[in-house]
Symmetry: C2
Subunit: 358 residues, 2 copies
C-alpha cells in the first residue's frame, strides 16, 4: 500500500472538485534553472544518462519540491523515450536538442516498427516512478507523461527538431496511409507506456502535443487529435482506489479546444496565447484547464510577477477546475528566487477565488 496523499489539490482541481487554493506546478520544474539540478546532471553524464538512472531521476524530480510549495511532482524524463525504446537511438546534442541516430526514412522502416514492452525496454522509467512514489511518501501526487503520437512522429521522421516540418508533413501529404500506419503503432506504444507508468504509481498522466499546432485544422483532427483520443480511450482511469486524471496539452492548439474536450481527457493544458476566460467559456464544465502564464513573466520583477499571477487567476475566475501553470516550460535562465514569488503568489492570491467552496 502506498502512503496516503497529504495534498490532493492538484488531483481534485483536475476533476473539477473544490479546493482551498489553486494548485500550481511548472512544466520543466525539475530543470536547468536550478543549480542543484545542474550539479546532479554533471554527476550523471549526458541528459539520457540522467533519464536512465532511476536514483538520479528521482533526485532531480524532488529538487523543486524542496524549494517551492508545489502541488505536484512530475517524473523527470523526456517526451521521446518511446521512440528511443523502439530502437531509433536518442541522444541530445549541446544546444541543438534531440537527435535520432536511426530516423524513419522509408516505408520499410515504418513496417519494421513495433510497440515496445514498457516494463522491459522502458523499465528504467518504471523504476524511477516507483522510487519517486516511495520518496514522495504522499507529499503531493506524481505526474507521468509522454509525447503525443503526432509529436513523437515529427521527431522520428525529421530525425530531430525542425523549423518547417518538411519531412514529416511531406510524408503526411504524400503517403497518408503510411503516416496513419506509423501513428497507429506509436499510439499503441504511448498507451502501453502511460498505463505502465500508472501501474508503477503515476497518479495523473499528461500528453504533450508540442507540435500539433503546426497543422491545419483538418490535419490536426486526423493526424494528431485522433491518435490522442485513441491513447486516452485505452488508459487505465482508476488505480489504487483513485481516479487517474488525464491532461492533454497541444501547444498552439487554442483554436481547437472544443475538439480536445471530446477526447475523454479530464483537463486541457493552455498556452498563453489564449485567455483562460475565453477558454473556460468555450469548454464549459466539460474539462478542467491548466495554465497559462507566459514563462517570460519570470524575467520581470517580483511585483510584476504578482500582478501577472493575479491577472491569470482573475481570468479563470471563481470556482473549480483550474490548475495554475506556465503556458510552456520554465526557461533555464530564470532566477530561482523569482519562482518562489511566483508559486507563493498563486497560493496566496487564489484563496479568495475558493472561499466558502470547500
Amino acid at each position: 500500500m502506498s502512503a496516503p496523499l497529504k495534498n490532493d489539490r492538484f488531483l481534485r482541481a483536475l476533476l473539477r472538485q473544490p479546493v482551498d487554493e489553486t494548485p500550481v506546478w511548472m512544466m520543466r520544474q525539475a530543470g536547468r534553472y536550478l543549480p542543484e539540478y545542474r550539479a546532479t546532471r554533471q554527476r550523471a553524464g549526458s541528459f539520457m544518462d540522467l533519464c536512465r538512472n532511476p536514483e538520479l531521476a528521482c533526485e532531480v524530480t524532488l529538487q523543486p519540491l524542496d524549494r517551492y510549495a508545489l502541488d505536484a511532482a512530475i517524473l523527470f524524463s523526456d517526451i521521446l523515450t518511446v521512440p528511443d525504446a523502439m530502437g531509433l537511438g536518442l541522444s541530445f546534442t549541446q544546444g541543438e536538442g534531440p537527435r535520432f541516430d536511426r530516423p524513419i526514412t522509408t516505408l520499410r522502416d515504418i513496417e519494421a516498427l513495433a510497440a515496445p514492452d514498457p516494463e522491459v525496454e522502458l523499465g528504467y522509467v518504471m523504476d524511477a516512478v516507483r522510487l519517486i512514489r516511495r520518496q514522495l511518501d504522499g507529499r503531493v501526487p506524481l505526474i507521468g507523461f509522454s509525447g503525443s503520437p503526432w509529436t513523437l512522429v515529427t521527431y522520428m521522421v525529421e530525425g530531430g527538431g525542425s523549423k518547417d516540418f518538411g519531412k514529416v508533413k511531406g510524408l503526411m501529404f504524400d503517403q497518408p496511409k503510411a503516416m496513419h500506419r506509423l501513428l497507429t503503432v506509436v499510439a499503441t506504444a504511448v498507451r502501453d507506456y502511460l498505463n505502465a507508468q500508472i501501474r508503477a504509481g503515476a497518479q495523473a498522466v499528461m500528453l504533450f502535443d508540442t507540435w500539433g499546432g503546426v497543422l491545419t485544422p483538418t490535419d490536426y483532427r486526423d493526424f494528431s487529435l485522433r491518435y490522442m483520443h485513441e491513447v486516452v480511450s485505452g488508459l487505465i482511469r482508476e488505480h489504487d482506489g483513485r481516479t487517474v486524471p488525464v491532461i492533454l496539452y497541444t501547444k498552439g492548439g487554442g483554436a481547437w479546444l472544443e475538439a480536445q474536450a471530446t477526447t475523454g481527457a479530464d483537463a486541457l493544458g493552455i498556452d498563453w496565447t489564449l485567455d483562460l476566460s475565453e477558454a473556460r467559456a468555450r469548454v464549459g464544465d466539460k474539462v478542467a484547464l491548466q495554465g497559462n502564464m507566459d514563462p517570460c513573466v519570470l524575467y520581470a520583477s517580483d511585483d510584476r510577477v504578482r500582478l501577472e499571477v493575479a491577472k491569470v487567476l482573475e481570468s479563470f475566475g471563481h470556482g473549480e477546475g483550474h490548475v495554475f501553470n506556465l503556458g510552456h516550460g520554465i526557461h533555464q535562465h530564470i532566477d530561482p528566487d523569482r519562482v518562489s514569488t511566483f508559486i507563493d503568489s498563486v497560493h496566496e492570491l487564489s484563496r479568495p477565488y475558493h472561499a466558502g467552496r470547500t
Copy 2:
C-alpha cells in the same frame, strides 16, 4: 508616367473587387528553391550583398515571374533592413539566420535610436523598387514590405532569431515604458520606409508580423497590433492614380483577426492553422484575405497539390476578396516543377468561383 498595368487581379482582389480568376503569389517566391536564384546569389556574394545591389535584387525579383503565371511581384529584400539602417549591423550566418552586430541591450541604446531617412540609408531599396517597376513594365503589380515594429524589435533585442524570446519579453514585462519608446521609434521608421517604397513605385505594401503570435492576447494588442495600426494610419493610400492596398500578416495570429481588421488594413494574411471559411465568417466584408495553403503540400504529388488547392478555394468560396498564397514562405527544397502545378491549378480551378461576376 509608369506603364499601364496589364494584370491588376491582385490589386482588385485586395480591394474586394471582382476578378476573373483568384490571383496568386507566394511568400519568398524569389528564393532558394529556384536554381537561377542560387546562381545569382552566388554571383552577388552574401545575402545582404544581394539585397543591397539593385540590379541583382531586380533580377531575382523577376525570376519567378518568368517561370510562373504569378499575379504579383514582391521586392526582393529582407524584413530587417530598417534596424540595419538604424545602425545595428545586419548579417546572415549560414544556417543560423539573421544576426545583429550591435543589438539593443541598454536603455541608452534605445534612447540613441532614430528613424533613418529611407531615401538615404535605405536608398538601395528605393533604387531596386524603381528599377523593378521599370523592368516589370506593367506585367503585374509590385509589393513592397517591412517587418512589423514588434517583429523588428524581437530581432533587435535578441540580436537574432530566438526560440523563447526571453530577452525581448523580459524587457517588455520588466520595462514596458522603454519597450513602448523602442516600438514608437521603430514604428515611425517603418512608416517612413513603406511610404518611400510607395513613392518609389510599390503598388501594395505588406507588414510581416512574424512574431506577433508569441504574445498573450493583451500583449499582442498593446505591443504588436497597436504599432501596426500606427504604421497603417500613416501610410500613403493613393499614389499614381491608384489605391495602394495594405496587407497585414501576423503568423500564428488567427485568434485575433477581428482586431486586425480594425487597423485600416485592406487585407489580412492567414496561415494554414485557420480555415479560410472560418476566417471569412469572422471578418465579413471588412477586409480581403490572403492565404493559406500549408507550404508542405508542395512536397506531395501533383494530384495532391491540385486537391489541396481545390480545398483552399472551396474553403473561401464564391465571391470577392481572396488572394491565394501559401500560409508562410515557400521552402528551399521544393521542386520548381511542383510550383507550376500549384500556380496553374489556382488559376484553372478558381474560374468557377468568379463566373458571371466580372
